[in-house]
Amino acid sequence: MSTKYMYSLIAVIVLVLLAYVGVEAAGLQIFFGVVIPYLAIITFVGGFIYRVMEWSRSPVPFRIPTTCGQQKSLPWIKHDKVDNPFTAVGVVIRMFLEILFFRSLFRNTKCELSEGGKISYRWEKWLWLFSLAFHWSFLVVLIRHLRFFLEPVPASLQFLEKIDGFVQVGLPGLFLSGAVLLVAAVFLFLRRVYIPQVRYISLAADFFPLFLIISVALSGILMRYFAKVDIVGAKELTMGLATFHPTIPEGIGGIFYVHVFLVSVLLAYFPFSKLMHLGGVFLSPTRNLPNNTRAYRHINPWNPPVKVHTYQEYEDDFRERMIEAGLPVEKEL
């Protein structure tokens, strides 16, 4: 039992109860269905932009890209154009692979001391696999939810739903992305509990978003497959939000408000947390800069202005006297 995740777990349970009791007992549908979601989206977009603008004030540092391949060098040495990019194109390809396929996680290894005191690095792909599954399924779930915010629903969205539900298990049909999201998020949680080194460095702020996302996924799955809520009413509410005509339809279950509240908390919490890696990944200096320091001079952006006096200027000042004294000059009189 670690207090670090107990705090986070208790926080999420309190949030769930808050929304459920608030709606079912206190009748605060407008607060949890309209006010909170609007505040959350404002906090999310505004906070996100604010955070990134703060970062953007930092000068571009001297290039220290992490290199995983041969730097551009002599013509007969084979240059690795993506893993040690020299041009912007190489950087774009590297960033693209990093952001969409988490290439640096793919290189993850496990370091172990064997009994003979030998150190060994072992293949470790589980983190890569599950974080990829987690992020992609989360993206699909997010895009799928646009059906509640768009009317008419675009055909591309229906196409995505078709693919996501292609197993046609049960009715309403099982969406694979929801199940994968839940399983992957649980894996990411268990990883932090079971691996001692990772548990040691895990903080409450690492567990909180995981619990939040797990409970968002659980409440969503519960709503869709088990304690069914009135989906037309749910869309009426969300469309009201999206068209700025907020309404509270009758008879949507409390669990819907729990789901909306948890998502709102996630959105509002986003700019203040480690979740900002969504924006930060684009700004990682060790990834997004070409390794061209041998070819281009980096001028330190915070160098103070220095008044310089060049040799040419010096010679201009003293040319006559230098010639008189018999010193060599670059430019004769």
Binding site: V45, F48, S56, S58, L146, F149, A242, L283
Partner: protein
């Protein structure tokens, strides 16, 4: 030197994506669909189960019916009200579509709104639309 221009461009893209539903629906009032009951359904007043139950569970009911009919050849459904019904989606008067005869006005109204695309009509022959 800093990359403010590039970052601002990225943030504009982010803001556009994050607020997509707002400008997609800009200036649209979206009416909430109201499924229309046929005359026959109105006259019957009750479905096989209470309305609220049917509203949330009809897909489950149909799923179970399909399995029971196909696997056990059993077409009798005992409702919670004690009445017996013929289990069938679309054949004859004693079926779902026998009463809810207008698919467009009844089924599709909500299904389209919620972007639900059931695969009933992959196998069953959809009732002809009255033009």
């Amino acid at each position: 030197m800093n990359d403010k221009n590039k970052i601002v461009a990225g943030l504009i893209i982010f803001a556009a994506i994050a607020t997509f539903p707002f400008w997609y629906n800009m200036g649209k009032a979206v009416p909430v669909p109201e499924p229309k009951l046929s005359e026959k359904a109105k006259a019957a007043k009750v479905c096989v189960e209470p309305k609220e139950f049917m509203k949330s569970e009809h897909m489950q009911v149909l799923d179970v019916w399909r399995d029971v009919v196909v696997r056990n050849a059993d077409r009798v459904y005992l409702s919670s009200s004690g009445k017996e019904y013929n289990m069938s989606l679309s054949s004859g008067e004693e079926s779902c579509m026998g009463c809810h005869s207008d698919k467009v006005e009844f089924c599709d109204k909500c299904h389209n709104y919620a972007s639900v695309d059931p695969y009933c009509w992959d196998c069953h022959i959809a009732p002809k639309e009255k033009k």
